[in-house]
């Protein structure tokens, strides 16, 4: 199964960037991660922690009327790298169906060559965040059946 088109586009963009462009783009993604919506801020216990990350990361997958999923993240501003990675995943996967999210391979980011800009340990944050987005997708599927 091919990657969801928006995620594929982001992967292709990064693949062609210089190290400096990758850092600038990560910063832009980190800055554009939207704050938690008020309703979720009040029901924060709904959010799942991502213990694989070095910083406290919480996420929640919200089902949309058309069956797509919208992910919300709560990540402190002191951790821009994880914010940037989560923002890439949110931009690439928001609106996708749970089945599409589950089909994203765990190493989808290899062609982005992020290791030119950030350390491997941090790139692993991607794996943790994606795994928990998939768990969110599974929950939504289970609720349906």
């Amino acid at each position: 199964m091919p990657l969801p088109p928006k995620l594929q586009e982001i992967v292709d963009d990064f693949a062609s960037m210089s190290r400096e462009e990758k850092i600038e783009t990560l910063v832009a993604y980190a800055e554009s991660l939207p704050p938690l919506p008020d309703w979720l801020r009040e029901e924060r216990e709904k959010m799942d922690p991502v213990p694989e990350c070095m910083t406290p990361v919480f996420l929640f997958g919200e089902e949309q009327p058309d069956g797509g999923v919208r992910f919300h993240f709560d990540i402190p501003p002191q951790s821009p790298t994880v914010r940037g990675l989560a923002s890439i995943l949110a931009n690439g996967l928001n609106g996708s169906k749970p089945e599409e999210i589950l089909s994203v391979p765990a190493d989808f980011f290899t062609p982005m060559r992020l290791e030119e800009a950030i350390t491997h340990q941090r790139i692993n944050g991607f794996i943790g965040v994606l795994a928990h987005m998939k768990q969110g997708a599974v929950k939504l599927l289970q609720n349906k059946s």
Binding site: I23, L26, A30, E31, P51, E52, M54, Q78, V82, N124
Partner: protein, 279 residues
Amino acid sequence: MSYVHPDYLVDTEWVAAYLEDPNVRIIESDEDPLLYSMGHIPGAVQVDWFSTLQHPVRRDFLTKEQFEEVASNLGITPDTTVVFYGDKSNWFACYALWLFQYYGHQNVKILNGGRAKWEQEGRPLVKDIPSYEKTSYRAKEPDESIRAFRGEVLTHTTSKKPLVDVRSPKEYSGELISMPNYPQEGAQRGGHIPGAVSIPWSLAVHEADSTFKTAEELRALYEGKGIRPEDEIIAYCRIGERSSLTWFVLKYLLGYPNVKNYDGSWTEWGNLVDAPIER
């Protein structure tokens, strides 16, 4: 009672006053290196503990020649006063300072409170990346009196000299092999070096603004655990960054003359075949 070597510490006001001084270079060194790109102290340059300060191939720091190249590119001369600051209570700022001292740079300081305090006070952060005229920095031979290797650590533990384990209590006990909430990778075995006392790094700083505790509080903390000024001390953590903060506290704030940082730390010791471990 004040710190024994107060010259090694400056506050945010001092840094704000010296932003334009050509003899002062401010260096940001973070755990999350993207923070510098999000905004840094005006005029500050960046070193990244991994991509700037580590040897590109071996598990080691830069060679002397590579360090000279880095320092030259940052426009530093042996007379430059270098002020380090960073995130996470200055872990990697202390780490970078330690490496600069290892290669003989004398005029080094830590910004007390680091990035957190500068931000809390609403001081300016900018995105412009400054450039300084390149110098031809000549480093000194490595100062081995501040760095411990595994052989020395083994001798130290068998001869029952003091070791300070600055990791979190669960890493010391062996329940975890990395910090809570961090990836549990890097070591095959958990526990601590036999005889090491547990004094988590975090006890040396105020949680609210990342500044160091007072000399009285620090002296009571370390002497209370039997770590005395006349001792030969080795500090370690997981990769040597948290222990460089403790090294800085013991060496400069409390003035202990013989303190080494074991940068191999648990990611080396916990993987060494035949190394003694206590749980």
